[in-house]
């Protein structure tokens, strides 16, 4: 059994300040077999506001999956990751780090902070789509996500 049979809409939070990347992600996820809605916030402070339903995000859903860039304005992705993974109410939400960095230090740091996985953004557009499809394929159809 996979999530294929699950009619529930999967809510995905994308934390990404690069508008081209968030647009590409949205387009790649739009054709997904698994119904999903993508919410985009552009900095680390907004990401935590979304998760804690603060400010303009009082009606925000609890995301089933978080796609997190590391280099973000206002609050760095590493700090956001650390906060999510040390918060009892949030830590079970899987966080996929997706960043342009390939630095060994960032990979180690992310896994040390309990990122669920670390992915480097490819520069090539077609490859970018392949990566998003691969995330979709694995995290939305093979993996069992925590429902709350």
């Amino acid at each position: 059994m996979t999530n294929n049979t699950n009619p529930k809409l999967i809510d995905i939070l994308l934390v990404e300040d690069n508008k081209a990347d968030s647009r590409l992600t949205r387009e790649a996820l739009k054709d997904s077999k698994i119904k999903n809605s993508l919410f985009v916030v552009e900095d680390g402070v907004e990401a935590l506001n979304f998760l804690y339903k603060q400010g303009v995000h009082t009606d925000a859903p609890r995301p089933d999956l978080i796609l997190l860039d590391l280099n973000l304005p206002k609050k760095d992705g590493r700090e956001v990751l650390a906060e999510i993974k040390s918060d009892e109410s949030l830590k079970r939400i899987p966080v996929v780090v997706i960043t342009s960095s390939k630095a060994e230090e960032d990979i180690l740091k992310s896994y040390n902070l309990h990122a669920n996985c670390f992915i480097t953004k490819p520069l090539n557009l077609n490859q970018f789509e392949v990566i998003v499809k691969s995330i979709e394929d694995f995290w939305l159809t093979i993996v069992k996500l925590p429902k709350e």
Partner: protein
């Protein structure tokens, strides 16, 4: 170096039938990789704390004799030397509570075993494809 020779997987699984199938599928889809199989979580923890070549990925069953999968997760994910290794929980349980608990103990992902052989193949293939071709792993 042969293809995949540097890829090392630790499988913690006490069902010998499942273990045999998983090992066969890894050998098929990731030829040349090395798989260390442990039946008991206690032995796995001891192995990891003493080896000088950590695995790139751990596949962990939950229902184990002695130390169970949750306790094993806790041992490995709260230890500075082992916490970076991604752990894929592969369990027959579909209970929400087990899924929550695994993620709360920092399992990197939770996958339910399938009783269908085709589906089991698809799952192992996806695990290999995602973790070895898409994600970047901390242990080289």
């Amino acid at each position: 170096m042969k293809k995949n020779e540097n890829k090392k997987i630790l499988l913690i699984e006490d069902n010998l039938g499942d273990a045999r199938l998983i090992i066969e599928l890894f050998n098929e889809f990731l030829p040349g990789c090395s798989i260390v199989h442990k039946i008991r979580a206690e032995d796995s923890v001891e192995y990891l704390l003493n080896t000088d070549s950590l695995p790139n990925l751990i596949i962990l069953d939950l229902k184990l004799n002695g130390m169970n999968g949750f306790e094993c997760l806790k041992e490995l994910k709260y230890n500075r030397d082992t916490l970076i290794i991604p752990i894929v929980v592969l369990s027959s349980s579909a209970m929400e509570e087990d899924i929550y608990k695994a993620y709360d103990f920092y399992a990197n992902c939770y996958i339910r075993k399938s009783i269908s052989l085709n589906e089991f193949q698809r799952i192992i293939n996806s695990i290999i494809d995602f973790w070895f071709n898409t994600a970047l792993l901390p242990v080289k």
